[in-house]
């Protein structure tokens, strides 16, 4: 099982800050394609990938990063710190 984490407007639109999934997706992009089928909200937040960032076990990754071995995968918009 992998724990998914959502932040900022992804969290608000999905209506949850985390969910557990099991998946055979090879890459983060594959996982996203899978997640879009879960609900209209999921489909919506992942409809524009240019505004989605992903982290695997708290390290920022590209969307072609492998899913295998991940314990925690987070999705969020571009960061706005500082």
């Amino acid at each position: 099982m992998i724990e998914l984490r959502y932040f900022a407007w992804l969290r608000e639109r999905i209506g949850a800050d985390r969910e557990m999934i099991s998946t055979d997706a090879a890459t983060i992009a594959d996982l996203i394609a899978e997640l879009r089928g879960k609900s209209d909200a999921h489909d919506l937040v992942f409809s524009d990938l240019s505004s989605v960032r992903a982290a695997v076990d708290q390290e920022l990754v590209d969307l072609d990063h492998p899913v295998k071995g991940a314990h925690e995968i987070a999705f969020f918009p571009p960061m706005t710190g500082g």
Binding site: R5, A8, R11, A74, P77, P78, M79, T80, G81, G82
Partner: protein
């Protein structure tokens, strides 16, 4: 300790932080600090700002950014403090400080820390208005572009 990274909801005492930072920066000739403040909206409609962050990843990301600065410039100390939670207009959001024997290194490394922190540390700002509207602050293309300045060819 050469690197001090703090992520906290509580306010920080900017004056005391900078005094302490300089005090402990033995051998420094130059100290640069940057402080970020909550700015009101153009029509003065901002009720408050809410900052969300990814606890755990935030500390790692800031630590990695500070370590990268130490690797690139001759720095004696680096301090990063970043708040999260609800902040009012004019509140201090965050600060960085760098101490170096040399002026150029102190300036460049503080500038570098800010560029990276802005696009690589997992913070998200939401602006809540007096009329109850609330909007997530959008990242700017120029913030991502700013990182290109620091790529060594």
């Amino acid at each position: 300790m050469a690197v001090d990274v703090r992520v906290q909801a509580a306010p920080f005492d900017l004056g005391a932080e900078i005094s302490n930072f300089v005090e402990a920066a033995t051998g420094a000739g130059a100290v640069v600090s940057f402080t970020g403040l909550v700015r009101d909206l153009p029509d003065q409609s901002l009720a408050h700002m809410e900052i969300e962050h990814y606890a755990g990843m935030t500390e790692k990301a800031l630590g990695a950014i500070a370590a990268e600065a130490l690797a690139r410039w001759p720095l004696i100390r680096v301090l990063i403090i970043h708040r999260y939670g609800i902040l009012a207009p004019s509140d201090q959001i965050m600060m960085v400080a760098t101490a170096s024997p040399h002026r150029k290194a102190a300036f460049e490394s503080a500038d570098f820390l800010m560029d990276y922190l802005k696009s690589r540390a997992p913070f998200w700002k939401k602006e809540a208005c007096h009329d109850a509207r609330a909007e997530w602050v959008e990242s700017k293309d120029e913030d991502e572009a700013a990182l290109a300045r620091w790529v060594t060819p």
